[in-house]
Symmetry: C2
Subunit: 339 residues, 2 copies
């Protein structure tokens, strides 16, 4: 393989000059640069990324750690996110490094590996918890990172989030307008900031109508379809039965739909169900799911862009960005038919 040394030897130039010509430094003479570029192309020269990385001290990689548990990956939204991130990073000639979870029991282990081994220049975090150990770790290490989702220390780093509280307030208001009064909440571990936010939006909408949240009408799933079905089973056993279920995400909602159907309940008539987050699943569902969508792929691209900014400049302080979701009406909810 042809390297800088061979290139410079053939050209009768120093490696320094060749390197500068290749990397577009301004002080190189025009015809010198032309000669260098020509030969480099002819010989099919490609710089050795490993050497460049060691020399420059930059890994040219961004890390993303796969979430805990298998279930996570069942969510199609993950692939969209990755695709968006990968696209934007590729344009900057950065690679995306996906690290699996560690089985050692220490949830921070993959982050330590990535950061301490200098395998990545920065990271993208997903599904932040309100108190997020990863955030604390990365802040302590001074590593650039961006999160999808807010957390208690969000003012110390760049983040992007969708306003889940507003979205769930809108969904709940829609159900209230349909006449529902016993509206269940199918949530997730409230340690997740998004779960907390969405619940807050639901409570807010109820409060605006003078209703108080009934703790018996809340059940938390695990963000999977079976988890949604199980949590729905709990709530549908309550008497009087809730006439509507607001679900933390679409996968959960699909599970709830399955459980409702199993009980012979007509979805959108006997019980209303809403989801969140995933246009694909919602569109595929039968009946089509009322949900809130946002451009997850573009969010991935934006996250990568935000991180690139952190990597490049040491300029302005990091900022947060709150996007709005769009309520997409389906046929999974409708007027309350209950006394």
């Amino acid at each position: 393989m042809t390297d800088l040394k061979e290139l410079s030897r053939r050209l009768g130039l120093s490696m320094t000059t060749v390197s500068r010509a290749l990397n577009g430094y301004p002080e190189v003479g025009a015809q010198t640069r032309a000669r260098v570029l020509k030969l480099a192309r002819e010989l099919g020269y490609t710089p050795n990324a490993l050497a460049r990385r060691l020399s420059s001290g930059r890994a040219e990689c961004v890390g993303f750690v796969l979430g805990d548990g298998h279930r996570y990956f069942n969510d199609p939204y993950f692939s969209e996110l990755i695709a968006g991130i990968g696209t934007a990073l590729g344009a900057a000639n950065l690679d995306l490094v996906i690290s699996g979870v560690d089985c050692s029991g220490d949830p921070l282990a993959p982050y330590r590996r990535l950061v301490d081994g200098r395998r990545v220049d920065g990271l993208i975090l997903d599904r932040t918890r309100t108190e997020d150990a990863r955030v604390a770790f990365l802040l302590s290490r001074g590593v650039p990172f961006v999160t999808l989702g807010r957390n208690a220390r969000q003012n110390e780093h760049a983040w992007l989030d969708v306003d889940g509280a507003a979205a769930f307030e809108a969904l709940t208001r829609r159900l209230l307008a349909f006449g529902h009064r016993r509206i269940g909440f199918l949530g997730a571990d409230p340690a997740y900031n998004f779960a907390h936010e969405r619940f807050a939006g639901y409570v807010r909408a109820l409060a605006a109508e003078g209703l108080v949240m009934d703790p018996a009408l809340r059940a938390d799933g695990d963000l999977t379809e079976p988890g949604g079905a199980a949590a729905a089973a709990l709530l549908l056993d309550r008497r009087p039965m809730p006439t509507a279920l607001v679900c933390i995400d679409d996968l959960t909602a699909l599970g709830a739909m399955r459980e409702a159907r199993r009980r012979g309940l007509a979805i959108g008539r006997d019980v209303s169900i809403t989801g969140y987050n995933d246009l694909i699943l919602a569109a595929i569902a039968n009946p089509r799911l009322t949900t809130v969508s946002f451009p997850i792929r573009r969010a991935g691209e934006r996250l990568a862009t935000l991180l690139l900014e952190r990597l490049r400049s040491d300029g302005p302080p990091p900022t947060g960005e709150l996007w709005s979701g769009a309520l997409v009406a389906g046929e999974s909810d409708g007027p309350c038919r209950d006394g």
Copy 2:
């Protein structure tokens, strides 16, 4: 950050010995090793992966290129695959590098970048075409790789595949046993080897029953839900209408279900529909989709393992592995109710 030099200085040992102790070389004395390991732990020493990579000439990374077009990523099976690969690689301390498609128009560009830049030690290819330019390129470069899916040159590399022909033969036989005689095929670009294989299985089952494939009953989608709906629309316009549709995958089948439903056809009664590949989607579908599943996550792990073997040894020649899918009966198909 503490590096090998500092470690050796503090210990009064050479960098060589420290390195050897850390990397488990047998010639290091027991108490020497203990001292080294102890201090390394105390100081939180982590080797600089960038330096190790340059020095060893190994990138410690495996590459995976995101497929062309957005649609690809809508398929949840992708996330499962990645999760499986990532898990197995992580155990070997290798990173998974995800590279986005290049917009330059050259489909090989991302592969060139990864390989020529020595960014990866090996690659995993997905969705091979019968004549696959990526395979030809990697073979010419002598880079270790594994494919999910077979191709014309499969005897020259390691691969893993699911027997799509057998699976589609089984699905089609099931429909034939239900009394269906006009069975449509919702396919995909036959340049994909899997599309070709699955179609062959379908034809084989028909032939075994003395039927010949009617070209008017084949339409190719693009492996998306809308693509499936569009292709289904074509076939459902045929007269006499096919009474069953064998679909290339579950996403396509879901699209076909939507189109059938739109026309007022009862799925599983007026028209039978089968899918392939994705347990999650099939289970979510209403009615539940008859499909063929295989453990995609385990396939990812196995692919990684196969690649690791290629990376380590220069021993036995690469082999192929053909897995069988499992037919999962749902309610999306049933007895033919037509003449």
